[in-house]
Symmetry: C2
Amino acid sequence: MLSKILEPDSIAVIGASSNREKWGYRILGNIISAGYSGEVYPVNPNEGEVLGMRCYPSVLDLPHRVDLGIIAVPAGSVPAVLEECGRKGVRGVVIVSAGFSEVGNRELENNVRDIARDYEMRMLGPNTFGFINTHLHLNASIIPQMPEKGGISFVTQSGTFGLALVDWAASQQMGLHLVVGVGNKADVDDSDILEHLSADRHTKTIMMYIEGIERGRRFIDVASRIGKPVIALKTGRSRAGSKAALSHTGSLAGTDRIYDGAFKQAGVIRAWTIEELFDSALALSISQPADDGIGIISNGGGAAILAADLSEDLGLHLPDLSGITVRMLEGVLPAIATPANPLDTAGDGSYEMFKDVTDIMLSDPGINALLVIYVHAEMVDPCLPAEAVIDAREGCDKPVITSWIGGKGIGTAVKRLEENRIPNYPLPERAVVALNNLVRYKRILKKR
Amino acid sequence: MLSKILEPDSIAVIGASSNREKWGYRILGNIISAGYSGEVYPVNPNEGEVLGMRCYPSVLDLPHRVDLGIIAVPAGSVPAVLEECGRKGVRGVVIVSAGFSEVGNRELENNVRDIARDYEMRMLGPNTFGFINTHLHLNASIIPQMPEKGGISFVTQSGTFGLALVDWAASQQMGLHLVVGVGNKADVDDSDILEHLSADRHTKTIMMYIEGIERGRRFIDVASRIGKPVIALKTGRSRAGSKAALSHTGSLAGTDRIYDGAFKQAGVIRAWTIEELFDSALALSISQPADDGIGIISNGGGAAILAADLSEDLGLHLPDLSGITVRMLEGVLPAIATPANPLDTAGDGSYEMFKDVTDIMLSDPGINALLVIYVHAEMVDPCLPAEAVIDAREGCDKPVITSWIGGKGIGTAVKRLEENRIPNYPLPERAVVALNNLVRYKRILKKR
């Protein structure tokens, strides 16, 4: 059970420190400032008080046993500290300390893993940045910013890059639930986390950053049974990149083609860039999956054409409109506009126009998902077409995603779309890439 | 000569209005608030005063003749107003008014063009959002935000989308010099603007958003003679998109394949997404072009591998390092790091490490351009590796671009890179795409 690690009622921070340069200071500080409501105990034999809290010399001195021990002591001291955790009855541990297999110290790592197993403690790490649980207001990590709450859980192979990505996502106001750095995966690995997330009610979508997977068969087994979208970015597909991956992770579980096959078998959506990973996770977390058959609407022709171009590049189908749809559109469009897919309202970005054309396009039996693009021209309140899309989507089960394009003037409209759980993107191509992954996910579901 | 339009000493705003809903109000307001230092005259027979300025009934009543007339009156009144401009000796006009060929009113457009030609006035538009000249502090457009000053000039086929794009770019703090909406191109077209920009000392790079070009031969002639990079996004390459383009612009100058050939012949770099267009224009405007042979450095292995993957996808070459380079790197890298390309410093993001490895990689004869990636882990001041790259680049003529990845904590470091004219991107893949276009531009220059 990973819940004692990822949803603890009480935490000991072992290696808690008053020295701002130490991870033991940062993690304890992050736990306190994010507002975690469970019990927290600093542990360090060399400190009497840390951050105004009483500090215990050892886990053995704690007044109660705790669910989670977070260990941030030098690598050489980890076995002894872990023994004490085991004797105290700590249920799970996160080992933030570095200096294990990632620097060739595999023996120490095996030793630590064996101690944890002897005491039946699950162990995250070593060499992980920790984890975040936004719904518990728990930042048990060295990540400086707490992300917004949301339905995406992010599993990332630790290391500097994984850490920086989470920090970046937090600065983008991306809504996350759990963020887990798996580190060296000496005990808990990606598949264990996936199993936990599968049952987790806050997690709607799983986003993964993967450098390598050791137990591929188990990964495929677990991933293919998850009833939630899993989207993964896996590095190392190039000649230069896979050579570097070999030296970076110290082990190469297979060539990229093997990963590609495994993802297909497991029903994992593979993303090719960080932007695709994050943008698509957003769409997958708040929208239903989409059947192919895409409709595109815009008040500025160029944007709709750009979106249509990329849609076809990605293999999406833009159906011709039915005769009824064409006649209905003729009834509402300005004379200079042509009823077609993609549909250009010839500049009209009013509530009425956007409501009418969105309703009509959604009623076309050939259109299974809709991309609505609004390009802001300062003469219209950009909230009006946003409200039109929000209203038109009401009671309709076809996915709708949007791209509101413009400068500072569109902020409120974008917020309204977000509040109404419509995936929105600042550029039309990013919306198309995300929509394509809604279609890919629907295909995965149909095959199951 | 377009300089009387784009660099005017004096301007009449014809159709200036006190009504905030009118373009004549917005344009006059934008001219004043952006801080243009030339003379400005509001013209409108129905207003005595606009925005606190004396309003003249007609251009004929102005105390002096002016360089530029900006016309924002109903389409039907444009011919009479234009006649008056001609009689007064106005040197050039911008017709913001809509209601011409874009709504099928080609006769009126031809009429207007003929009047302008009779009086030897060059004419931008009709149906344009106007233009911006940041170095003159002149916002003669309906764009609400004034962009930052910079070396990129942006020529865009008008319409709502072009307008929204400029507004978006301004909100991204993208540095621009001229922004020109070409509108219906009844007189001045893309090629005329290109000729002007070719000689313009503030313009380092030309960025174009194109829906269609009428006089293809002239475009190729002009573009192939420009000694500055031109990067263009052209819409309508798909089946659905090109059908829409036909109905949107009312004319289709050729299929996409013809455009592709024309761009190649003219030495125009073709971008495939808005993000590529903007990101690459930034790199082209502040960096020298790059020969193939890319080196990649990072303190977080995953980011370097991701960049290497995409580099190979795009056809870039990541050479193996020379024996000397390997030995020099062995002298500075931590024991756990491998001297290779891409190079991973195994987490070390210090000034000394970044300075040493950047110096050494730049000295390798096989490496002609360098991508330096820094992933922020909160334990290092992100300004230190930035200063290292700035110092290492000093006196070296190989292009260096960067990707600083992280949340709010890296802001100052990013600013330092920008100040030192190093193209920097928040994600490594965006840096690779931009670098690829530096290489494409160098190939274009070699063919000339």
